[in-house]
């Protein structure tokens, strides 16, 4: 079943197996299929070793897939050499040419395309302005700071006007502040140039703040693709919920089938919530896991009304919010509630207090394990 022709990158049934002396066979990509739209900021997110770099290298042409195809605007480029693909890469290590100046680095791709020298000169100036490096033309790349090198790498990759820019954890070497600044700049560049960005990171916050869509990967597989909000609010698997943001996991029993179904949480109290579980084939009485974000987990003084009873173990003040870790009988891990501070004051709940935990129905996500 082929999708109708759509511009962008199509990855079809991609498998990449590495044979390693020590570990034997490693399936770095395990049947990955995805579609990255044109002009989209698409992020590959996942823990170390899940195959993000391998997928980028297959798109760039550095790695020949064991199986599967890569399509670029409906042109099959699987067997095309890297230098023929309209795809450029910002390498994790930057890979700037140490024997060339900043300007020579940026001009390299233009020279390879045999762009007329005067036009190339203008383009280099334009690119350096775009990344705020005007005046650095004649510096050797070894004399630049990490952030400057990163921007040269960006300018170099953007100069030949590729259709697709691949970025392999380009911000991981930068300190926190520079990183925040570069995140905004990258997003701006993507919007200004209209180039498709495929961005790799293992930082979930970075992925959520920058991307149009995110693919969450684990062990060579894509678990979920969606907008940051979809992924954050409706994770389909426990791994996704756990990897992206903090999550409370609660065992529950399906008590009444339907749309929405009714679940009984925990063993004590008979606290029930309603949630949609249509993606799961569940019967009455079956065990499921519910995921609830800490900011949608509410605490009330113990006593009246329904809810899970627990005892506050620790209170962590965060300025804008306060985090409460609450021990609930029968649950392995304490639950976390994140409550916004009003007028910069933490709510009047102290360590050791007995509380009642509730959450609204629409805060609940039913997971397949």
């Amino acid at each position: 079943m082929d999708s109708p022709p759509q511009p962008g990158i199509h990855i079809r049934d991609m498998v990449k197996v590495f044979t390693d002396d020590q570990q034997g066979e490693v399936r770095a990509l395990d049947n990955v299929s995805l579609h990255i739209r044109s002009n989209e900021f698409f992020t590959l997110l996942g823990p170390s070793g899940c195959g993000k770099t391998t997928l980028l290298r297959v798109i760039a042409g550095f790695e020949q897939p064991s199986q599967g195809r890569v399509l670029l605007d409906d042109l099959d480029v699987t067997d095309q050499a890297p230098y023929r693909r309209p795809v450029n890469t910002v390498f994790q290590s930057y890979a700037l040419f140490p024997h060339m100046t900043v300007a020579e680095n940026v001009r390299f791709g233009l020279e390879m395309q045999k762009v007329d020298p005067a036009a190339a000169e203008r383009r280099v100036a334009e690119m350096l302005e775009l990344v705020h490096l005007t005046g650095m033309e004649r510096r050797k790349t070894g004399q630049l700071s990490g952030g400057q090198q990163q921007r040269v790498a960006l300018a170099r990759a953007l100069a030949p006007a590729p259709k697709v820019l691949l970025l392999d954890e380009p911000l991981s070497a930068l300190d926190f502040k520079l990183r925040k600044g570069m995140q905004i700049e990258l997003k701006r560049l993507q919007q200004e140039t209209g180039i498709t960005f495929v961005f790799v990171t293992h930082d979930q916050e970075e992925a959520l703040t920058m991307s149009d869509r995110v693919a969450v990967m684990k062990s060579g597989k894509v678990l979920q693709i969606g907008t940051p909000e979809e992924i954050y609010r409706h994770p389909v698997e426990r791994f996704v919920a756990d990897f992206i943001g903090e999550t409370n996991f609660l065992p529950a029993t399906l008590s009444t089938e339907g749309h929405p179904a009714v679940f009984t949480v925990g063993n004590a109290g008979g606290f029930t919530v309603r949630a949609e579980a249509s993606q799961l084939d569940q019967r009455q009485g079956s065990q499921v896991t519910l995921a609830v974000r800490p900011e949608r987990t509410f605490l009330d003084p113990a006593g009246h009304g329904e809810g899970l009873s627990g005892r506050v173990e620790t209170v962590v003040y965060f300025g804008t919010d306060t985090l409460y870790h609450v021990r609930v009988d029968g649950l392995e891990a304490p639950l976390t509630a994140r409550i916004q501070n009003r007028d910069n004051h933490a709510p009047d709940i102290d360590e050791g207090a007995e509380v009642r935990i509730t959450f609204p129905d629409d805060a609940v996500q039913v997971l397949k394990d």
């Binding site: 760039a60 042409g61 550095f62 050499a81 890297p82 230098y83 795809v87 450029n88 890469t89 390498f91 290590s93 890979a95 700037l96 040419f97 140490p98 024997h99 390299f108 791709g109 390879m112 395309q113 050797k140 070894g142 170099r156 990759a157 030949p160």
Partner: protein
């Protein structure tokens, strides 16, 4: 008290540490060199050797001029020609060694890590046999009716009884020298290629460079220090080579090394031999200075 001195004075300690090295260099290098420099400014003895109290620059004069019977000087290019030929032969040796050695070094640096040490070892294998033996082997290969002639005849490239006639030509010298000094070219280039970050080559491909362009714009520039070191290590010993031109070059294949040897042996003109050697040394030093000022600023 006296034994305490190195500990209390770093200067003394330093002197004690580098002293032996300096003594060895002084004894076995500077003194003989100085002696030969002195000899080059002396008058020749009638039956070899020198007259120790007759100082003259005659040896250097006769490098460029011929002294006529009436004591006037005529410009003489005989020796300059031998120097020029030696330079050209060494240069072509270096170029051929580079053209052959660079791909070999590149291949070695791209081989799987576990094979590389074996490959380095294989490159050095020719050194295990004596230089003379290796040159005689080339005589067997190159001589009339030698192996190469037989192969060429077998392939029909030459008629029966004909010869490709390489032995005792400058070509034979170039072949012999290239073969002898090839490891000196391969190993330094390999050393700098092995350090090269091949992600830079990927970056070049990524930006649209073909293999050839990536080679010319990234690999070669970044291995220049190795190329330069290898070229020096081949060029300089070629310039002073003696055995190979002696055996493979025939009567017309005189190189600087043979000329110098001739002065100390058959011609019994020690001062002239010494002067020839120092003229060569001066030329090499000038070349080295030029090289250092050119390549010193290259990246690691």
């Amino acid at each position: 008290m006296l034994l305490d001195l190195p500990r209390r004075s770093p200067a003394v300690a330093r002197l004690l540490l580098i002293g032996p090295g300096i003594a060895v260099i002084g004894l076995f290098m500077l003194i003989p060199l100085g002696l030969m420099a002195y000899v080059s400014f002396l008058d020749r003895g009638a039956y070899g050797g020198v007259v120790w109290d007759q100082h003259t620059v005659e040896a250097y004069t006769s490098f460029l001029f011929e002294r006529n019977l009436d004591d006037s000087l005529t410009f003489n290019t005989d020796y300059l020609q031998i120097y020029l030929r030696s330079f050209l032969l060494s240069l072509s040796t270096t170029l051929i060694a580079l053209l052959v050695g660079f791909p070999v070094a590149l291949y070695m640096s791209l081989a799987p890590a576990k094979w590389r040490n074996l490959l380095v070892f294989l490159v050095t294998v020719p050194f295990w046999t004596n230089l003379l033996v290796r040159n005689y082997a080339w005589i067997l290969l190159l001589r009339t009716n030698g192996l190469i002639d037989q192969w060429a005849a077998g392939l029909g490239l030459i008629g029966p009884g004909e010869s490709v006639s390489i032995l005792y030509t400058p070509w034979a010298i170039t072949i012999g020298l290239t073969y002898s000094f090839m490891p000196f070219m391969v190993l330094p280039i390999y050393a700098s290629l092995e350090k090269l970050d091949f992600r830079l080559v990927e970056a070049a491909y990524d930006l649209g460079a073909t293999r050839l362009k990536a080679l010319a714009r990234v690999i070669v520039p970044l291995s220049l220090p190795g190329i330069a070191a290898g070229s020096i290590l081949v060029f300089i010993p070629s310039l002073g080579s003696y055995v190979t031109p002696e055996l493979l070059g025939g009567s017309k294949g005189l190189m600087i090394g043979n000329l110098i040897q001739l002065q100390f042996a058959a011609s019994r003109n020690w001062p002239f031999g010494a002067a020839l050697a120092f003229t060569l040394l001066a030329m090499v030093l000038i070349a080295m200075v030029l090289y250092l000022t050119r390549f010193r600023k290259l990246p690691e």
